[in-house]
């Protein structure tokens, strides 16, 4: 494995030297170096042939710390966080954008990290559950989830909390939702609004009512709801 990576790295240096400055290209083999500006991939011999892995460099900031990694282009942001950076707070649930367990905040917005390639986050600023708070210094939403028992198994919790952080920001920015009666009025965080806005996060244990209580407390809508 190490040998393989070294060979890839050597190819990379060769290729980068030949690449046009406006184009960042990751190529599978030195044979393509002549056409590096156009970044043509290796010719597939047949539709079923398995192409050789391709790696590329990505530099990004996660929870305030800068990381530079050489990754297989197929690596999702989720797998980069968990497998390479050992930030295992972010969870892999469905791996297809349906459950929300992998929710992180990328450049200020909540996204599904399973449906985003690591190499597409060059220069990104990522916040994961580890970056929101730590034991002894919890984020208010983390503390509220503990207080209101907003989980059972806890697997969806990091995604729920990151999603709630993003959701409260979206409400603050006046972004309407499917259930907003008026598209132009400032949205209020009613229970119905909260359910709709958190619908991208599934809790298989069904801790939804306690999750609602936790978010309500932090958003200050608990008494008005």
């Amino acid at each position: 494995m190490d040998d393989h990576l070294n060979i890839d790295a050597a190819r990379r240096e060769l290729l980068i030297a030949g690449a046009l400055s406006a184009t960042t290209a990751a190529l599978p083999g030195a044979a393509n170096a002549q056409s590096a500006g156009a970044a043509s991939p290796r010719q597939a011999s047949s539709p079923t042939a398995t192409p050789a892995p391709v790696t590329a460099k990505v530099a990004l900031r996660v929870n305030g710390q800068r990381y530079e990694q050489e990754v297989d282009t197929r690596t999702t942001l989720l797998d980069l966080l968990r497998e390479r950076l050992q930030l295992t707070g972010t969870k892999k649930g469905c791996d297809q954008g349906q459950c929300g367990a992998c929710t992180v905040i990328a450049d200020g917005r909540r996204i599904n990290s399973c449906l985003s390639l690591a190499v597409m986050h060059e220069g990104s600023e990522i916040t994961t559950i580890e970056g929101l708070g730590q034991p002894g210094k919890l984020h208010p939403l983390q503390a509220a989830f503990v207080k209101h028992d907003g989980y059972q198994c806890g697997y969806c919790t990091p995604g729920q909390i990151c999603s709630a952080v993003g959701m409260l920001d979206e409400v603050q920015r006046g972004i309407p939702s499917h259930v907003s009666a008026s598209l132009e009025a400032r949205p209020l965080l009613s229970p119905m609004e909260m359910r709709e806005r958190m619908s991208g996060n599934i809790c298989r244990c069904g801790a939804y009512s306690n999750i609602m209580d936790a978010i309500s407390e932090v958003s200050g809508t608990g008494s008005k709801a």
Partner: protein
């Protein structure tokens, strides 16, 4: 997932020429549908062209009083734009009815138009599917097809187009602007953008290989009451059984387009003339020649009742 090479580009022209120069290349922007399909090896591009750096991420007024929506404007931002909320509410409503907030934060205007069907047989690589593998057969015809199309279908495919946004754009008479590898540009009316399945259900739109969507333009606002009613199996984060985009004018005239019933947003101008006569007359014209199965015959009734519900709402003023 198959291995692929990856490249970032800075301009639409560079993107289009890179695609032309590279066999089996695909553009990637939000990636929320393409990556999902690549994991299942339903999509197997050898090369990805990341177009996030080309600009095209703004919403601008056009000279004729409409809006030009850049291809890379995220669904969240399009739905939240003050001009869209005020003048094109049907579009905001449609966008907000689709996917989840996390996905809308990533998904782009162009990508939304190009997303592929959610037919379960298209996703199940163990099953025949003419859209995934031409001439392999259609598992949905005669299979479980409660979610499937009832108009514009063929013997080869009864898949639906899953977009909510596109249905609203259809009712608004939007246009799709593109650039080709040779640098030429064209404007495609949304009505002509998506194709019916016919014998070639794997060809879903009229773009040529390497042609890149740069923007979607909306004509000047038409006024009226805007509605987007989506009926689905749960109240959020699900694809439509049927959806109705409607703009109803004070006199009772208006426009209607349907989602969840066809391989493209479904609109029949002749049916709209019948709006003052109620949902039944409109639906009979809209869904004339519908081919339903035991599983999805309910969609005809559901469309009629949804339209009637909106007309009632519109009359309330």
């Amino acid at each position: 997932m198959r291995a692929f090479t990856y490249q970032r580009v800075k301009t639409p022209a560079e993107a289009a020429s890179a695609a032309a120069a590279t066999p089996n290349a695909r553009f990637i922007a939000g990636g929320t549908n393409l990556l999902d399909l690549m994991k299942l090896e339903i999509e197997t591009p050898a090369h990805l062209i990341d177009v996030n750096g080309i600009g095209m991420d703004r919403i601008e007024a056009t000279q004729d009083g409409g809006l030009r929506v850049g291809a890379l404007v995220r669904n969240t931002d399009l739905a939240a734009d003050a001009r869209v909320r005020r003048d094109y509410a049907v579009l905001s409503r449609a966008l907000l009815a689709g996917a989840s907030p996390q996905l809308r934060n990533k998904a782009t205007t162009a990508g939304n138009l190009l997303q592929r069907t959610r037919c379960p047989y298209f996703y199940d690589t163990n099953q025949p599917c003419n859209k995934r593998l031409p001439n392999s057969g259609c598992s949905a015809i005669g299979g479980f097809n409660r979610h499937h199309a009832i108009v514009g279908t063929s013997e080869a495919c009864i898949a639906t187009h899953p977009s909510d946004m596109a249905v609203a754009m259809r009712v608004l008479d939007a246009s799709v602007e593109t650039v080709k590898a040779d640098g030429s540009r064209r404007v495609i009316p949304i009505a002509d953008f998506h194709r019916l399945p016919g014998d070639t259900p794997h060809i879903e739109h009229v773009l040529t290989p390497g042609e890149l969507i740069t923007a979607v333009t909306l004509p000047k606002p038409v006024g009226g009451r805007h509605f987007y009613q989506k009926v689905r199996d749960r109240s959020s984060y699900a694809f439509a059984l049927v959806s109705v985009a409607a703009i109803i004018q004070p006199g009772g005239s208006g426009r209607v387009a349907l989602g969840g019933v066809a391989h493209k947003p479904w609109r029949v101008p002749a049916a709209e003339q019948l709006l003052p006569r109620g949902g039944k007359a409109v639906t009979e014209q809209l869904l004339a020649n519908a081919r339903t199965s035991h599983d999805n015959a309910f969609k005809v009734t559901l469309v009629q009742r949804t339209i009637d519900g909106l007309l009632l709402e519109a009359r309330k003023g």
